[in-house]
């Protein structure tokens, strides 16, 4: 009878049961036998330079592949460094499986290296957290972890594995691999709610459909396409739902941008919100007019009436709910309404639309974005990370790809530094697509050492730095609040991030003039290397997101 190193059970489970092919993390003595298991079972490891990046990559890998991402952290500082990434996945409802070392159980309370109570620290930011105490039960604990990450509303889970169980050898048959059962089950909305929703949608004159992350994880492009085409309803897909239908779909209103969305929301009479939270970005529901009727679709019943009482609440997976609604909704044409809202929205963003097509000196950030779009196109994956930068990227970039435009810092954690890890995960998940990260210069600093990871693993992502020499969003809101003469901790300098990347073995470009943008981007893409295009942009420009952010914190 064969024996197995218990630490190898982790990789064996990942490979044989979950079909996981890639994991992210940094090494450490406490998890050595897990690492050796990755070798044994041929799981590709992406070893990074900061554990927060590993958690963020695994998070993003879930988004791009639709399957839970896995990261590994060593005990103590590996664990604490990972916390930001775990918190981000928690607030974003993303399935993330975190495997973590810990000090030996044998040495509890003896002052062991990296001894701390990790479970209590991580509990409030996970769906499920546990320590496994028995080597034979490692596969079982892994199965529980994966179930918790994916069942219902997804989220991160945390499994702590002490050396006492990893570093022993046990008979293989004492730790059998569980059989993964793919159950076909669905939470189904009540018939009367479906009928009420259909009646509201059928009676709408100025409807709007908003889809969020729940749309993305439901992977429901076919059903969503049929639904919007039958009902004629204009739509905007946000968060990880973006791209489930192409941004270029005739009923998508991404060309109206966030400003157009707010303007349109104010006039809509029916709002269908699917897999989307009415959080601070919707002023906790306040942007929805009092007179409008609201239909909510969510897998989590607690979201249905949150921050705004719904007129119909449909609990379930977005795709399956839309499937049930289809026979009840009538064929409609809202062409006139769509034309009106587009024309009105465009009138409100007139200057921004003009700035995209006119050369500027210094370069306007939206002009930079328009040039990226021109060179890279709609068949690419974009990630945007920054303050004002996030706004410009999200309104100015368009793709036909699922999760094609992701504002990685625009989730509930508003976590700067996510862009590069997300870009890396995007390229690993879809190597055939060009991947471009648009980074604020401030945000670039957090995880730019991951260029080393890209170079080592040959992951050619192009990172464009929108360099306004500032923590721009903060600088501009300080100008509004405490005044431009008292700016505090919001300015940065002219820095050659491109040279830094060259030093790490990547390709660098430095751009100060409008006409240099396109050739620099082309060279970066053609280099086949991880590349940084460092573009100096107008430091006086702010985005509409900044005053909104400033207002949200105003208390008197």
């Amino acid at each position: 009878m064969a024996d197995i190193k218990a630490g190898h059970l982790v990789a064996r489970y990942l490979k044989e049961v979950e079909k996981i092919d890639m994991v992210f993390g940094i090494s450490g003595g406490h998890i050595e036998s897990i690492l050796d298991g990755f070798t044994e079972y041929s799981i590709r490891t992406i070893d990074v330079r900061h554990e927060q990046a590993a958690a963020m990559m695994a998070h993003a890998y879930s988004v791009y592949t639709g399957r839970p991402g896995v990261c590994f952290l060593t005990a103590g500082p590996g664990f604490t460094n990972g916390l930001t990434g775990i918190a981000n996945a928690y607030l974003d409802n993303v399935p993330l499986v975190v495997l973590c070392g810990r000090h030996p159980l044998r040495d509890d309370l003896k002052g062991a290296l990296q001894e701390m109570n990790q479970i209590d620290m991580v509990k409030p930011i996970t769906k499920w957290a546990a320590t496994c105490y028995d080597a034979r039960r490692i596969p079982e604990y892994m199965a529980i972890a994966f179930r918790n990450a994916t069942a219902g509303r997804p989220g991160p889970v945390f499994l702590e594995l002490p050396p006492d169980i990893l570093n022993i050898t046990i008979p293989e048959e004492s730790a059998p691999m569980p059989i993964k059962v793919a159950r076909n089950y669905a939470v189904v909305p009540a018939d009367e709610e479906l009928e009420a929703a259909a009646e509201i949608i059928n009676g709408a004159k100025k409807p709007l459909f908003l889809g969020g992350t729940g749309v993305g994880f439901s992977a429901c492009s076919d059903r969503l396409g049929e639904f919007v085409e039958k009902t004629g309803i204009p739509f905007m897909l946000l968060n990880y739902g973006r791209g489930e239908l192409p941004d270029t779909h005739p009923l998508s209103i991404w060309d109206c941008g966030n400003v157009g969305l707010l303007v349109t929301l104010g006039q809509a009479d029916v709002i269908v919100a699917a897999g989307l939270r009415f959080n601070w970005l919707f002023m906790s529901g306040d942007v929805i007019p009092g007179g409008a009727k609201v239909v909510r679709i969510d897998i989590d019943p607690r979201e249905i009436d949150r921050n705004r009482r719904a007129d119909a609440g449909l609990v379930g997976d977005v795709g399956s709910v839309l499937g049930r609604l289809m026979p009840l909704v009538e064929k409609k044409d809202h062409g006139e309404w769509v034309r009106t809202l587009r024309a009105a929205s465009h009138a409100f963003i007139d200057s921004e639309l003009k700035a995209r097509v006119a050369p500027s000196d210094p370069i306007h950030p939206i002009r930079l974005v328009a040039k990226i779009q021109e060179v890279v196109g709609e068949d690419a994956l974009y990630v945007i990370d920054g303050g004002d930068t996030s706004y410009f990227g999200q309104v100015g970039l368009f793709t036909r790809e699922k999760a094609g435009v992701i504002g990685s810092a625009s989730g509930l954690l508003g976590c700067l530094g996510t862009g590069i890890p997300f870009g890396i995960a995007a390229k690993l998940a879809r190597p055939d697509k060009p991947v471009v990260v648009l980074n604020g210069d401030g945000s670039f600093g957090f995880n730019s050492m991951e260029f080393d990871t890209m170079v080592r693993h040959n992951i050619p992502v192009v990172v464009v730095v929108n360099n306004d020499c500032a923590w721009g969003m903060i600088k501009h809101s300080q100008e509004m609040s405490i005044g431009g003469d008292r700016l505090q901790c919001s300015e940065l300098g002219i820095r050659r991030y491109d040279l830094m990347v060259e030093g790490l073995g990547g390709h660098g470009e430095f751009v100060t003039k409008d006409e240099e943008i396109v050739p620099a981007l082309k060279r970066a893409l053609e280099s086949g290397k991880p590349a940084c295009v460092n573009v100096m942009t107008d430091p006086s420009v702010t985005s509409p997101a900044t005053p909104l952010f400033y207002q949200s914190l105003k208390m008197e």
Partner: protein, 119 residues
């Protein structure tokens, strides 16, 4: 004429609100912004200058501003502004009667302030 008068009255009301209306004072806070309302031909208009809680004004449509509300003509401007209705503004924008130069959010902020005063 009616449009210019409306802008003048609006200025007077806001100016008074800066002194007497707590909510409005708090709304404008320490913001430094220039908001221009004008006709597209630039012949009529008024600049509202907010400078750390102080409001001042200049007449005419030719001033530089952080954001401008540009009306196709004075009659549309008067009709829509006097109505105080978001729906009318939306319709006017859709029909080419109105556009925003600069950041729409600043105009929103300005009109939110007007709503506070007119409440």
């Amino acid at each position: 004429m009616k449009f210019s008068l409306l802008l003048f009255i609006l200025y007077r009301k806001l100016k008074k609100a800066v002194k007497t209306n707590r909510a409005y004072r708090s709304h404008i806070g320490t913001v430094q912004l220039k908001i221009l309302i004008k006709t597209a031909d630039g012949k009529r208009g008024r600049l509202f200058i907010f400078d750390r809680g102080v409001l001042s004004t200049l007449t005419g449509g030719g001033h530089a501003a952080d954001a401008a509300l540009v009306w196709s003509d004075a009659a549309t401007a008067f009709r829509v502004m006097a109505s105080g209705s978001d729906e009318e503004s939306f319709k006017a924008a859709a029909e080419g009667g109105l556009r925003v130069e600069g950041m729409a959010y600043y105009i929103q902020w300005f009109t939110d302030g007007i709503k506070l005063v007119m409440k």
